[in-house]
């Protein structure tokens, strides 16, 4: 099979995609790297000058940057495990035989949150979480809980972002994991069923190893998306109250698009990109060893 594939053929298949991504991905990125070495503010272009790594030094010593990073990490470490746990639960339920029609419907409804525009989710969150006219507080009222000030209180706003992040992304995680579960050969599941009734044991010892590729995919995607998370908190809380929901992408957007400090924003973004790539490499290295 490998015998007769010429370089030209390989190039013909890969060339266009590589060229396209170099064009739209790499070129602007290089420009961003170049700008990150400058003191460059859109509203003060007269004062533009080359400053070397000064922006990077500034970013790395800026507590605001690290606080935003910390917030982003907190969000990640709270919401992704919940997404994975819930996603797994949903995937397992959907993977079980029986109630077919019901399950098809459920699978379809999983598409809804995924398909909802991220910016719209933030707006919807505002409407539903509002302390006065929000339906969530009304429902909490039905079970005897006093209205919660979701948007105006720093902790609650953060919780609000987590809730909506979970709402939006759990279905995606569930679908990926469901696909992963479908790669477990049925006999292997049955072999395990002969040993135990416990769903949990079957999951833990037999299905989980097959899910590792899916889990890594989920981790990679969720890490990237959490670091990129902008639309939803932006439309929901604008990073507030205070800085409670100022995640890293919200911060960078603020520096770049509102303070117009492109040099600084580029430096921040590039540090963030480096971090993401590092994490993705790490996941692949670390988890894939277990499978092979």
């Amino acid at each position: 099979m490998t015998a007769h594939v010429r370089r030209k053929t390989i190039l013909a298949f890969l060339g266009p995609a590589v060229a396209a991504l170099v064009l739209v991905g790499i070129a602007p990125l290089l420009y961003a790297v170049w700008k990150s070495l400058h003191n460059f503010n859109l509203t003060k272009q007269a004062q533009t000058k080359f400053v070397g790594l000064e922006n990077y030094a500034a970013v790395l010593t800026d507590p605001v940057f690290w606080q935003a990073m910390g917030r982003t990490a907190t969000l990640f470490f709270i919401s992704v495990p919940i997404q994975i746990a819930l996603g797994l639960l949903i995937a397992i339920v959907l993977h079980r035989p029986g109630l077919t029609v019901f399950k098809t419907l459920t699978r379809l409804s999983l598409v809804l949150p995924m398909a909802t525009t991220y910016a719209v989710v933030g707006l919807l969150a505002q409407v539903m979480l509002n302390q006065k006219y929000g339906v969530i507080n009304q429902m909490l009222g039905w079970v005897g809980i006093d209205p919660v000030n979701f948007i105006g209180d720093p902790t609650n706003a953060f919780i609000g972002v987590i809730i909506w992040d979970i709402w939006q992304w759990t279905p995606f995680v569930a679908l990926v994991l469901l696909a992963g579960l479908s790669t477990v050969p049925p006999e292997i599941e049955e072999a395990a069923q002969l040993e135990t009734k416990s769903q949990w044991l079957v999951l833990r010892y037999v299905q989980l190893p097959f899910l590792i590729p899916s889990l890594v995919a989920v981790l990679i995607l969720r890490t990237a998306d959490t670091l990129k998370l902008f639309d939803m908190p932006f439309t929901m809380t604008r990073g507030g109250p205070g800085s409670a929901t100022e995640f890293i992408a919200v911060l960078i957007e603020r520096v770049g698009n509102r303070q117009f400090d492109i040099g600084m924003a580029s430096a921040q973004a590039i540090i963030m990109l480096a971090l993401t790539i590092f994490l993705a490499r790490l996941y692949i290295r670390f988890f894939y060893r277990e499978v092979n």
């Binding site: 099979m1 594939v5 598409v111 809804l112 949150p113 639309d231």
Partner: protein, 275 residues
């Protein structure tokens, strides 16, 4: 499987399914109903569940606020970028799945890496470049930029799908004198349909919903629907009905697209072949 399907277990499972559905659907339901409320009803405290619906919001956003135009822009951009991503991405995925060459792993990883680049990084450089090229506020600028995240998704998912197709099919076709391109087009691509479908849905969803590039690169003529939705938010009053009507209009095309292809959704999402 699981022989003694006890009634109680079934009930529990059914309830769980209902809960999952409710969890997924309820916000959407609220969005749709809010879009049918007038501003006063929408801001009623406590919120009302039963009210006289009105289509006024839809009327207004569609015919007065150019949401219709922005929807068309969105469709043009999302369809084109998805098509382009599939056209460029599937051959690349095929090459990654089938051919042996040096640096394959790194190339794969580089493709995927583009998915990590935040639009915040690229938006401004692209803004300047697109102005140089006269692409500002054109669909093309958005279509190209959206490739940065649609192409990786297509490549990721499809590489995996191509790998799951038995090599013997390629070999059989090779013996019959088919060129690599022919094998790709006539044999493997049709068989990788679940992957192509899923990556198309995801590409469509991601590009349809994108906001940052959209509002920086397409402020006017090419303005897309999500950018339109947040426009309303920043008026001095927040017209929830209009926003939710716009949101509903935005979500519906994606939903239709996703539901059509949902048959493939699970089969195509086995993103396992990361090596």
């Amino acid at each position: 499987m699981a022989a003694p399907v006890q009634r109680r277990a079934l009930w529990a499972e059914g309830l769980l399914l209902v809960a999952i559905c409710a969890f997924c659907i309820f916000p959407f339901y609220w969005m749709v109903t809010t879009s049918l409320k007038t501003q006063v009803v929408a801001l009623e405290s406590p919120p009302v569940w039963v009210f006289t619906p009105t289509l006024a919001n839809y009327w207004e956003v569609l015919f007065e606020d150019k949401v219709g135009v922005s929807l068309i822009n969105s469709i043009i951009v999302a369809v084109c970028t998805t098509t382009l991503a599939v056209v460029l991405g599937t051959p690349a995925a095929y090459a990654l799945a089938r051919f042996e060459f040096r640096g394959k792993q790194d190339l794969w990883f580089w493709f995927i890496t583009n998915r990590f680049v935040s639009p915040v990084v690229l938006a401004f450089p692209v803004f300047l470049i697109s102005r140089e090229l006269g692409l500002r506020d054109t669909h093309l600028a958005l279509i190209l930029m959206y490739l940065t995240f649609t192409l990786p998704i297509v490549i990721w998912i499809c590489t995996d799908q191509f790998r799951s197709i038995p090599r013997e099919l390629d070999e059989a076709a090779l013996l019959e004198g088919a060129s690599q391109w022919r094998i790709f087009r006539s044999i493997c691509l049709p068989l990788a349909m679940p992957g192509v479908a899923v990556s198309s849905i995801l590409s469509f969803i991601f590009s349809w919903n994108e906001l940052l590039f959209a509002y920086i690169l397409a402020p006017k003529a090419a303005k897309t629907a999500p950018a339109m939705a947040v426009t309303f938010m920043e008026g001095y009053d927040v017209p929830y009905g209009k926003i939710m009507a716009t949101s509903t209009l935005i979500v519906i095309p994606v939903l239709i697209f996703a539901l059509i292809a949902s048959k493939h959704l699970v089969r195509g999402l086995t993103m396992g072949a990361v090596k």
